[in-house]
Symmetry: none
């Protein structure tokens, strides 16, 4: 029966997907049951099942045992600006400006001294086991957790200075660049490496997500004259946020 090119279950999944994305199957509606799919498309039970599985794997629908398969809501992700660069003229129509999440909501943090792991040591260009200050953050936006961050700073840089603890003292909570400048460390570069993966159970617990949700992971490292002075892992739920960069060309 497969005289066509594409497997039957992909054809069925594709048709249902089209109905979902074009809005004829809006969120929270039930899509046809396995039995109805079988009838309407003239396919077997296995094909109908496999097609549903494809859509579930894509996160478009969610199966509820005994009830049905429902179209999931997909909120438009908001943008989190990740670059200090801003256009010079005030009136440019960059979309970015419209929906930027204000960098500062509320946050909690906890700092502790630790020894640099292999991975952190490499990122900070120190030896594994060197003392670092490790700080964990939970950032909230309107009460809702929007990102987790774990930051490491070599004590070789901040040790025995007023800014050793990121969230204490007169410059507490001021940001890496400002704090470093206070001890005459001029941050002039930053690298951000953006990856993505399924969120870990603990992360999604903190972020109010569901197991299987995707998270963005930003590995950020600040440099002062080529020397790394801080590195951080930022974990962001990808269904609610994206990260935006604005760069000059040439």
């Amino acid at each position: 029966m497969t005289f066509g090119e594409q497997p039957a279950y992909l054809r069925v999944a594709g048709d249902l997907r089209k109905q979902i994305v074009d809005g004829s199957l809006p969120p929270h509606t039930r899509l046809p049951s396995q039995a109805r799919i079988r009838e309407e498309y003239g396919v077997s039970d296995t094909v109908a099942l496999e097609a549903r599985k494809v859509l579930m794997a894509e996160g478009l629908v969610e199966g509820r045992s005994g009830s049905g398969t429902y179209v999931r809501e997909r909120p438009v992700p908001r943008r989190i600006a990740r670059s200090g660069y801003r256009p010079e003229s005030g009136a440019t129509p960059f979309r970015q400006e419209q929906a930027d999440v204000e960098a500062r909501g509320t946050w909690e943090s906890r700092s502790e001294q630790a020894e640099a792991s292999l991975a952190v040591a490499e990122r900070l260009a120190v030896k594994p086991g060197d003392r670092v200050m490790c700080t964990r953050y939970v950032f909230r936006e309107a009460g809702e957790a929007m990102m987790l961050s774990t930051s490491w700073e070599p004590l070789a840089v901040t040790g025995r200075t007023p800014v050793m603890l990121p969230e204490e003292g007169p410059l507490g909570g001021m940001g890496v660049v400002e704090r470093m400048r206070a001890i005459d460390v001029i941050v002039d570069n930053v690298t951000e490496e953006v990856g993505a993966r399924p969120g870990l159970a603990e992360e999604l617990l903190a972020l109010g997500g569901v197991p299987g949700h995707v998270v963005l992971v930003v590995q950020r490292t600040y440099y002062a004259s080529g020397r790394p002075v801080e590195t951080a892992d930022v974990v962001i739920p990808a269904d609610r946020y994206q990260v935006a960069y604005h760069l000059p060309v040439r």
Copy 2:
């Protein structure tokens, strides 16, 4: 037969997974065929199949039709540089330099005129239905598909010029900035919005993945004096690549 707690296919998948992660089934080795799994675990063909599918969905193994199911290598994701900024001094120890994927491998493309959808029109600051040139790319790195890209350019900018078709003429395949410069459009800004989601079945088919795998999606827009001149959706498999930005501070 399911007197245990968890489904049989999960039990089988779990046992095989353990052998993979603890190294007794190293990369490139073949795991037992469906028939052998059926015998060794005393389960049906369906369960053996389902167990293999779980491992494939997790990206741990890869099925090769007619040959077997093989344990995949799990390389550290490589970095794709997304910014033209480079440090001035040649000897800086930025990790970024070490593993950058060379921007140009091989690629295929197909262009066609189309009408701007609502979303594309907004990104290009044109009216929905305006004519645009739509080009789809598949980029390959050592033969393996590493990213998909769909690009839109308003014909109001490139129409009736030598660079209307991105991949033809003397500047074919030269990149947006160069092509635009040839018609006196000076690209001076770019925004990149990075999100992530489960890949669609067709995307993962093209990228050699499996339904459910995570992809990074970069929405890139080039601007010339505040006017959008090109926008693109770049789809990248997140298990193999991450995107790297290198930015000056202040």
